[in-house]
Every structure is written in structure tokens, then in C-alpha cells.
């Protein structure tokens, strides 16, 4: 793994808001054109982010699936104890970014990375990092619910089981706590020994959330956790996010702008593997620096 030096910014096209504020016009955005053309540009990172304690820091992080590049030298700080939303059109690399945080992409053949990613100041991609230990500190919920073919109870306590926890009481308490947090306790408390595959899709997703938080992770990575949920369950999950954001740092990928607005403190907008704009959520949604961002968040493209 070689760390490449930051590329010299060839063409700076960070445009001021007033210059391109032509909301009613068909999409003609210089930044996105530049990205499509593969040119380098500097993302608009708001000043409100500086001065915050970053739990995760990306330094020119790039990722290649074999010959195709999925992430293009992304640099961003994820502030501690806040909810950071990642938005962007489908296929722009949001999941990839999230999966690189807990190094799940290592499992994909032919993945190569450049640049670095630091968790609490320590490189995640260092050769001597204990990946298992790293993943234990990060909880992950996937885009599609993936409960294991076991009982509900076993599903929730899986992270504790693999840690070697055997005391029945501890496991039961942890299970109940996690299920309550994930707002699913009332629905499953009578059938903890039933197979998790019998749950509905939404219940399965909340079960996966319970599984992700049962071991008290430092950072919770949520990849569209609500895509399979009805509005009520979504609301519950959002409440849950709100609640756990007091304790953990949360990174959430979502296609739902309202959701991003409701739950997150900071929002990053990505396009074609690049970070476009990153700032406090109210600013991104109300006063974005780039017209492209505004167009995206108001639903006029993407």
C-alpha cells in the first residue's frame, strides 16, 4: 500500500454560490462536469468543521476495485459524538466509503487503496493493525438486512459470543438492552428463540441494528438502515440514532434528504466517488456553497 502525495490541484473550480445560482435552468454544473471529465477539483469543506475533534480522518483516501477506481482521494474529518450523513446519487461510492472504514473491502479480491484513514489518530490501514479488533470497535448495519440463520437471541449476541462471553445472564441482559435500543424488543420478546429469518424485513433490519450496537461500538456505520422500513419503524430508528448519537459517533448513508436533515449534524455530498461538499447539515440543506449541492438536495438532479 503506497500513500500517494496529494495531487496538485490543477484546476480550481470551486465556484461561488452567486455565480451559478440559476435554479430553474437545466443542469449545467461546472463541478459535476469536471468530475465527469475526471478532472481534479477541491471539494467545498465548510469552515464549521474545523476545530472539532475528529474521530475519523480520511487523508486523500482512494480505493480501486481492480482497475476501476471507486473513491477518488477523499479527505474528510468525521467529528466525534456527532451524526454524519453521507448523501449522493446511487453508485457514487457511499457504501464503499463506509465499508472501507471497517476494512470490509479487504475481503473483496483485487481491492487496492491509496491514501490513509485514521481512527483516533491511528492508521486503520497500517500493516500491523488488528483488523478483528478494529471491526469490534465499529458497528455496521448493511443496506440489506442480513440476519444470520439462527435464533433472534443468538443473532443479537453474536458479537459477544465471538468475544467468548458465555455467562448466560450477561448475554441476556445485553440482548434485551440492544433490542430495546433498536425498538424491537416488544415485538420479539416472546420469541427470542425463534429463527431470525421468520421476522419481516423491517424487523430484520432493526435486529441487525441491535446486533451492531450490542457490543458498544465507538462508531456506528449505518448503510441506508431505513431503506426497508415503513415510516413508523423509520421514525423509531431515527429516534434511536438520535439517542445513541449521545454516546457514539454515527455515520449514516441515506437517500432520504428529510432523514438526513432530521438525524444528522453534518452532511457530506458525494458524486462519482468524489467528495463534493461537506458541512453542517443545516448549511448544506439551506445555504450550500455549491449550486450542484443545492440542486441535488432539492431533488432537481440525481
Amino acid at each position: 500500500m503506497e500513500t500517494t502525495a496529494p495531487k496538485p490541484s490543477g484546476l480550481r473550480r470551486t465556484l461561488l454560490r452567486d455565480d451559478a445560482a440559476r435554479p430553474s435552468q437545466p443542469v449545467k454544473t461546472l463541478v459535476l462536469d469536471a468530475i465527469r471529465a475526471g478532472e481534479t477539483f477541491t471539494p467545498a469543506v465548510h469552515a464549521s468543521l474545523s476545530g472539532l475533534d475528529p474521530v475519523l480522518r480520511l487523508n486523500d483516501f482512494s480505493l480501486f476495485y481492480g482497475p476501476t477506481q471507486a473513491l477518488f482521494s477523499i479527505s474528510m474529518n468525521v467529528p466525534r459524538g456527532k451524526v454524519t450523513a453521507i448523501i449522493g446519487p446511487s453508485g457514487c461510492g457511499k457504501s464503499t466509503l463506509l465499508r472501507s472504514v471497517n476494512r470490509l473491502n479487504d475481503l473483496v479480491d483485487g481491492v487496492r487503496i491509496e491514501g490513509d484513514m485514521l481512527l483516533n489518530g491511528r492508521s486503520i490501514y497500517d500493516r500491523h493493525v488488528d483488523v478483528i479488533d478494529l471491526r469490534k470497535r465499529l458497528g455496521m448495519v448493511f443496506q440489506k438486512p442480513n440476519p444470520f440463520p439462527m435464533s433472534i437471541f443468538e443473532n443479537v449476541i453474536y458479537p459477544l459470543r465471538i468475544d467468548g462471553e458465555r455467562r448466560r445472564r450477561v448475554l441476556e441482559e445485553a440482548c434485551e438492552r440492544a433490542l430495546r435500543s433498536a425498538a424491537i424488543w416488544d415485538e420479539v420478546k416472546d420469541r427470542l428463540n425463534a429463527s431470525a429469518l421468520r421476522l419481516s424485513g423491517g424487523q430484520q433490519q432493526r435486529l441487525c441494528i441491535a446486533r451492531a450496537i450490542v457490543a458498544d461500538p465507538e462508531v456506528l456505520l449505518l448503510d441506508e438502515p431505513c431503506s426497508a422500513l415503513d415510516p413508523i419503524a423509520t421514525l423509531r430508528v431515527e429516534e434511536l440514532i438520535h439517542e445513541i448519537s449521545q454516546r457514539y459517533t454515527v455515520m449514516i448513508v441515506t437517500h432520504n434528504m428529510q432523514q438526513a436533515m432530521r438525524v444528522s449534524h453534518f452532511t457530506a455530498f458525494m458524486y462519482l466517488g468524489r467528495l463534493v461538499e461537506y458541512g453542517a447539515t443545516p448549511e448544506i440543506f439551506q445555504r450550500p456553497h455549491l449550486p450542484e449541492t443545492e440542486q441535488y438536495v432539492t431533488g432537481r438532479f440525481g
Binding site: 470490509l104 440489506k144 444470520f148 439462527m150 453474536y158 429463527s195 441487525c208 446486533r211
Partner: protein
């Protein structure tokens, strides 16, 4: 479309037809069939000495008559004595296959008779007996008399004429003649013959036969419980002495001693520990290597100490018992004394057994063949001595049996078939040892092939770096499935029986000198270290050089494995588990046996398990693995908790396929272990319980043997059908068990 339907229908019809044929014939095989008193025309032209004989009709079929027979048919037709039912509708004459038994008379046990030669008066006398004998096959005849012998001391008077005497079985006539008892002393035998009406036989004889069976059982019990253990103890004593002699020889020639098991364990542990330490050190980050150094030194020192201790014990003669010429003499004396006592005891028991056998021969029956008037003999060499009752396994008069009686006879035959020993060159009796052999073989095969295949598949799919080497292995494995099974048999015989078996029996053929062997051990450690280092380097380096480095690491590993095999094959510290036996030219594992047979079959069926397991593993959804890794599970934890349970139904399918194939395989077994007659069962209640070195009987081989190697296929036919049915049933039962297991697993997988 309809072609496919037709093909499917054809397949189904063929399979159903085959199975139902086997089932019908197998079920029918033991049903008692009536005995005909076959009466031929007075002027028949068959090559028979008489014209009346007992026979059991097997089947009729039309045939092409010879010109001579055509003339005969014409002559009979002219005389208007031709029976039209003796001809097939197409005009060809019919012939009937009769089972006639009585092979001691020098005749075939079955006979084709043209139906036109049958006299119209063919009867089924109630007195006709079917006598199943221990040897020489069935005897068809009529019982006329019971013979009771009494052994008198040699100074009683001989009778000049037969005298009439009263016996518990009615009046009889007695005569006396000179004979000898088992000790060879002269005695007088008083033989009383009690005549009875032939149709009384099935009333008088069975209780006496049951008594005779009890006497035989007693004899066998004494043999089993008292006589054979003495032989075994004698044998052990002999081997102990031989071993001591060999040890002494070795000590005198300055050669190394064999190592005890704990020493081997110590050696192994220290070698593996060293390898592990090397790996740990190489894997450590550079900056932490220094901190780890003291810990590593301590562990290394401990390991080295263990190694040194082991080497010291091995290389220095002061440890362990040493044998000297004087201690050998003492041992020899004590062994001789002990075996003398044992031999005396054995002689006593032998005498007792001989007396019992002699006494058993006092009860005999006169059963006459209607054609020749000859009696069923005790032995073919002396036709004057009538059949001893204990030689009769079962006596039946099928013509007078009611339906219930036939059912009882049927049940008793089936019971003998399933639970009895084979007799009369396997053509009659039971297949119990064959069943046991087959089931044991199948179980051993399963135990060997499933773990091996699953481990190999897990390694190939989950751990091995997918590259040239793994594809080569995969292609090789797939091709193994296409190799003819007889080739596996040859390989098994050559490698397992003769090479590996020899090593197990007597140790390496030409062991290396000590120093060279130790150099090999050190060498292999170095190669392993090199391989690990290269592997780690490969992981850390860029793409292009990683591949070559990985290749070199793989080559190093292969070399290491080869050297390890070499180390095992040439160790001077191992002289075989059965050294003394081998020195007496008795092979234990260097022979065809059930262990080697099951390993050969395991090799044969390995590809099926590997391929099925790989597919099952690959079918476990990626999202589940990622979920597990995302929870912080390691590779092995993920495999054990997510992948293997998910793949279990597929693995079981593979195992079922493999084991069914292995259970039905015959060709390799003929080379590596299946025997026509195995003297002992491969499992027993004695210590190792599974006697892996013994040869065994196998249903598939048994069918082949009965069908194609038997001298008398007609007589053996019912048994062939029944055995085939049994084999199918056993395979079916095994499959059903596995399928049920799989179904249960499936439901557990998809919600319970």
C-alpha cells in the same frame, strides 16, 4: 419434448423394473417350495441311473431339441403317449430345471429334465424331506431310521447277529463292532437302528436335532471361552520373547532403539512449537519485535529445553529399560515355563472337546435318496456312516407343511440368512459377517472421507490464495473422480497395504543414520521458516512480486511436506508397531484389511465430498459473511459459526453421494481387502473393538463371488437375489438416515 418424456419414462420403468425384480426375487428366495417325486418314463433316454428322484422345480423353459430328441418325440407321438402340455405354444419342447441336491452322490445339484420324459404320475409325497446340511448342500430324501451309538469298553462281547433292544424311541435292532475313541484306544460300538415310517420323520427327528444343536453350541462356547484365549496368550508370550530378542540384537549392533510414544509426542510438540515461534516473530511489527524478544526468548528456551531433553533421552542409552543377554535368558525361562503350563491346559481342553465331539456323533439318521437308495453320509469318503444329527442345520418336509408351517420355515431361513454364518462355500446359510463387514467398512469410510474432504474444501475455498496452484489442485481433484475404481484398488494395494502397511508393521525399510536424520529435521525447520518468511513478504509487497514470492513460498511448503514425509519414512527411531510379528513373517497391516480398504474408498470418493462442500460453501451468501466479519468475527469464527452451518445440508448431500458410491463399490475391494471368507469379524468386544487390520466380507463382493465364482450357481441363486436385496436395503437405510438428518438441518436453517 415428448422424446424427453419418453426417455424419462424409460429410465423410470427400467429402475422400477430392476428394483421390483430384485425385491420380488429376494423376498421369494427363502419361501419353501414343494418337493416333487419325479417319475420318468420307464424307457427314458436321459443319462440317469434310475427313473424316480426327488426334485424341487425351479423353472420351465422351451429349448431347441437335438435331432436325437426329435426322433424320440416322434416315436412317443406315434405311440400316442405324448403329453401336449410338455410343449411351448410355438411347438418347442419344454424342459424343467430341478434342484436335486445330494451332491455327495457325485451328481450335479440341479438337473434339466425334458417335460415329455416325465411320467404323468408325478407325486408330492408327504414324507419327502429337505435336509439343509452344514456341508455339501441340501439333501433330498426320506428318513427311514434313527441310529443310536453307544460306546462300550473294548472287553465286551461282539454280537454275532443283530439283537432287538428297547430304546426311549421305540424298539430297535442293535449290533456291535470295533471302533476307536478319540484317544485312539479300542472300544466296542453298539449301534442301535430304530426304524420308523418315513412320514414320521418330521415328528421324531426335530427335537433330537435341537438337542444336537445344543451340544454343538456348548462345544463352540468352550472353544470360544476357554480354548482360543489360551492360543492368544501363547501367541503374546511368544511375541514378547521375540521382541526382547530383537531389542538385544539391536543393542548389540549399536543401532537405535524405537521410541516410546511420549517421546514422539515431545519431539512433535517441540518441532511444531519452534515453527510457531518462528512464525510469530516474523509476523510481529518491527517496532514491537524488540519488546517481544524477552518473551520469545523464554518460550524458545523452554522449547529448546524440551527438544534437548527428548534428544538426550533418545540418544543416551541410560534412560529406559535396557535388555542384556542375562535378562533375556531370564525372560526366556519365564516365558517357557508359562507357556508350558498353558499348553498343558490347552491339551486338557482339547481332550474334553474331542470327547464331546465324539459323543455328539452318537446320534445319527438314515435318510435315503429314492433314486440310488444311498443314505446321506457323514463324510463322502465313507458312505457307510450315516449322517450325524448335528450336521443337519434344518429339516423340513415342505410337502406336508401348512401355510403357517411354511411361514415359520420361511422366517427361520430369513433369520439364518440375516444372523447366521455362511456355510457350504458361502452358497447357503447367512450373511451376518458380510453385513457387519459392509457396515463397518461404510462407517470407516465415512469417518475418513467426510472430515478430510470438508477440511480440504474449506482450505481450498476459504484459505488458499486463489491462483494457479489452487486451480491446478481443483482440476486434479475433479479428474480424480473420473479415474476407474480398479486403479484406486491397485494404488491402495501398492501404497496402503504394501508400503504404508509395511511401515506400520516393521518401520522404515532402510532408515537413515542418526546424524543425517537429525540434519533432515533441522533442514525441514529451515525450509518451513523460509516458506513462512516468503509468505509474509508476499503479503506485504506489491502485486507483481507478490505472485512470484507466493509461488516460491508454495514451492517451499511442498518441499517441506516432501521432506517431512521423507523424515517419517526414514526415521531410525521407529521399528514398527508389530516388529516381533513381522520378524516372524506374520503381517498385520502389511496385508489386505478393512482399514486400507476404507482408506482406498475414501480416496475414491474424496472428490465428490470436496466438490460438494466447495459448492455448498460458495453458496453461503456473501452478505452473511460480511455481517459476521462486520461484527468482528475472525475468519475461523465466521467459517465455524456462519459458513459451515449454512453449508451443512450441501456437505451432507455430498457425503451421502460419496458414501453411497463407496458402499456399492466392489472392484477396488477385491484388491485391498474383501475376502471370500473372513475368519473373524472386523469388530468385536475385545480391546481395540474395531480390528482395522482384519480382512472382511462385503456384500458386493459376496454377490460377485456367489454369482460368478460359485461352483453351483443354480443352488446359489436364491442367496444371490437375497443378498442383492439386502445390499440395496442397507444402502437405502444409510441414505435415508442421512437424508432425514439433512432435512432436519434444513428446517433448522430456514426457521424452526
Amino acid at each position: 419434448m415428448w422424446l424427453m418424456g419418453a426417455a424419462l419414462a424409460l429410465c423410470v420403468i427400467l429402475i422400477v423394473g430392476l428394483v421390483s425384480l430384485i425385491a420380488w426375487q429376494g423376498i421369494r428366495a427363502f419361501w419353501p417350495r414343494p418337493i416333487d417325486l419325479v417319475t420318468l418314463r420307464a424307457d427314458h433316454v436321459l443319462e440317469l441311473r434310475g427313473e424316480r428322484f426327488f426334485g424341487i422345480a425351479v423353472r420351465d423353459e422351451p429349448y431347441e431339441p437335438l435331432p436325437r430328441e426329435l426322433e424320440r418325440i416322434e416315436a412317443l407321438g406315434n405311440a400316442r403317449t405324448l403329453d401336449l402340455t410338455a410343449f411351448h405354444t410355438d411347438g418347442r419342447p419344454l424342459r424343467r430345471l430341478y434342484l436335486v441336491g445330494n451332491r455327495d452322490l457325485g451328481q450335479e445339484s440341479s438337473l434339466w429334465v425334458p417335460l415329455y420324459e416325465l411320467s404323468l404320475a408325478t407325486a408330492r409325497p408327504r414324507s419327502a424331506l429337505l435336509v439343509d446340511r452344514r456341508d455339501w448342500g441340501p439333501w433330498l430324501g426320506e428318513a427311514h431310521a434313527l441310529v443310536l451309538d453307544e460306546y462300550l469298553s473294548h472287553d465286551v462281547q461282539l454280537f454275532d447277529d443283530p439283537q432287538s433292544v428297547e430304546t426311549p424311541f421305540g424298539p430297535g435292532s442293535a449290533h456291535r463292532f470295533e471302533g476307536r475313541n478319540p484317544q485312539g484306544e479300542p472300544i466296542i460300538v453298539q449301534r442301535t437302528t430304530i426304524d420308523f415310517e418315513p412320514d414320521q420323520a418330521s415328528r421324531i427327528l426335530p427335537p433330537l436335532i435341537a438337542d444336537a444343536h445344543r451340544r454343538q453350541a456348548e462345544i463352540r462356547r468352550i472353544e470360544r471361552e476357554s480354548r482360543f484365549p489360551i492360543d492368544r496368550r501363547l501367541n503374546r508370550l511368544d511375541l514378547r520373547l521375540r521382541q526382547a530378542e530383537l531389542d538385544l540384537q539391536r543393542a548389540q549392533n549399536g543401532r537405535t532403539r524405537g521410541l516410546a510414544l511420549p517421546l514422539w509426542a515431545g519431539l512433535l510438540v517441540s518441532i511444531v512449537g519452534c515453527a510457531w515461534l518462528i512464525k510469530r516473530t516474523l509476523k510481529l511489527p518491527v517496532e514491537r519485535r524488540r519488546g517481544f524478544l524477552p518473551q520469545m526468548t523464554i518460550r524458545g528456551a523452554v522449547l529448546l529445553a524440551v527438544l534437548a531433553a527428548v534428544v538426550a533421552v533418545i540418544e543416551h542409552p541410560w534412560a529406559g529399560p535396557r535388555i542384556t543377554a542375562t535378562s533375556l535368558e531370564a525372560l526366556r525361562a519365564s516365558v517357557e515355563e508359562e507357556s508350558r503350563d498353558l499348553r498343558m491346559e490347552a491339551e486338557q481342553i482339547d481332550r474334553l472337546l474331542m470327547d464331546l465331539r465324539h459323543a455328539d456323533q452318537r446320534f445319527r439318521a438314515v435318510i435315503l435318496d429314492p433314486r440310488t437308495g444311498a443314505q446321506a453320509p457323514q463324510t463322502t469318503s465313507d458312505p457307510r456312516e450315516p449322517l450325524v444329527l448335528s450336521q443337519i442345520v434344518r429339516l423340513a418336509a415342505p410337502n406336508e407343511l401348512s401355510f403357517a408351517g411354511k411361514l415359520r420355515l420361511y422366517a427361520s431361513r430369513i433369520a439364518e440368512f440375516v444372523a447366521g454364518e455362511p456355510r457350504n462355500a458361502n452358497q447357503e446359510g447367512g450373511v451376518f459377517p458380510v453385513i457387519i463387514g459392509t457396515v463397518t467398512l461404510t462407517l470407516l469410510l465415512t469417518v475418513a472421507v467426510v472430515p478430510l474432504g470438508v477440511i480440504a474444501a474449506i482450505y481450498l475455498r476459504e484459505y488458499a490464495r486463489q491462483g494457479l496452484l489452487t486451480s491446478a489442485v481443483r482440476i486434479g481433484v475433479n479428474n480424480l473422480a473420473g479415474v476407474p475404481s480398479i486403479v484406486y484398488g491397485v494404488f491402495g494395494l501398492g501404497f496402503f497395504c504394501y508400503t504404508l502397511g509395511r511401515w506400520v508393521d516393521a518401520g522404515p525399510t532402510d532408515p537413515l543414520p542418526r546424524t543425517e536424520w537429525w540434519m533432515l529435521v533441522v533442514g525441514v525447520l529451515l525450509v518451513i521458516a523460509l516458506a513462512m518468511g516468503l509468505g509474509l513478504l508476499a503479503r506485504a509487497s506489491t502485486r507483481s512480486s507478490a505472485r512470484t514470492l507466493g509461488l516460491f513460498a508454495g514451492l517451499c511448503w511442498i518441499t517441506a511436506v516432501c521432506i517431512v514425509i521423507g523424515i517419517i519414512a526414514t526415521t531410525p527411531y521407529f521399528h514398527g508397531f508389530f516388529e516381533a510379528k513381522a520378524a516372524n513373517n506374520i503381517s498385520t497391516f502389511r496385508a489386505r484389511g478393512i482399514l486400507w480398504a476404507s482408506l482406498t474408498l475414501a480416496l475414491l470418493t474424496l472428490p465428490v465430498v470436496i466438490v460438494a462442500t466447495e459448492e455448498a460453501i460458495a453458496a453461503v451468501p456473501r452478505s452473511l459473511r460480511e455481517g459476521s466479519y462486520g461484527c468482528g468475527a475472525g475468519k475461523w469464527q465466521t467459517i465455524r459459526r456462519i459458513v459451515l452451518p449454512g453449508a451443512m445440508p450441501g456437505i451432507l448431500t455430498g457425503a451421502i453421494l460419496a458414501v453411497s458410491r463407496g458402499a456399492g463399490e466392489v472392484a477396488p475391494l477385491m484388491l485391498v481387502g474383501a475376502a471370500k471368507v473372513a475368519p473373524q469379524l472386523p469388530i468385536s468386544g475385545e480391546f481395540p473393538f474395531i480390528h482395522a487390520e482384519r480382512s472382511f466380507m462385503h456384500l458386493g463382493f459376496h454377490i460377485f463371488d456367489l454369482g460368478f465364482q460359485s461352483k453351483d450357481p443354480v443352488a446359489a441363486r436364491p442367496l444371490i437375489w437375497a443378498t442383492t436385496l439386502l445390499l440395496i436395503l442397507i444402502v437405502l437405510a444409510l441414505n435415508m438416515a442421512a437424508i432425514l438428518l439433512r432435512a432436519r438441518l434444513r428446517t433448522r436453517q430456514s426457521g424452526f
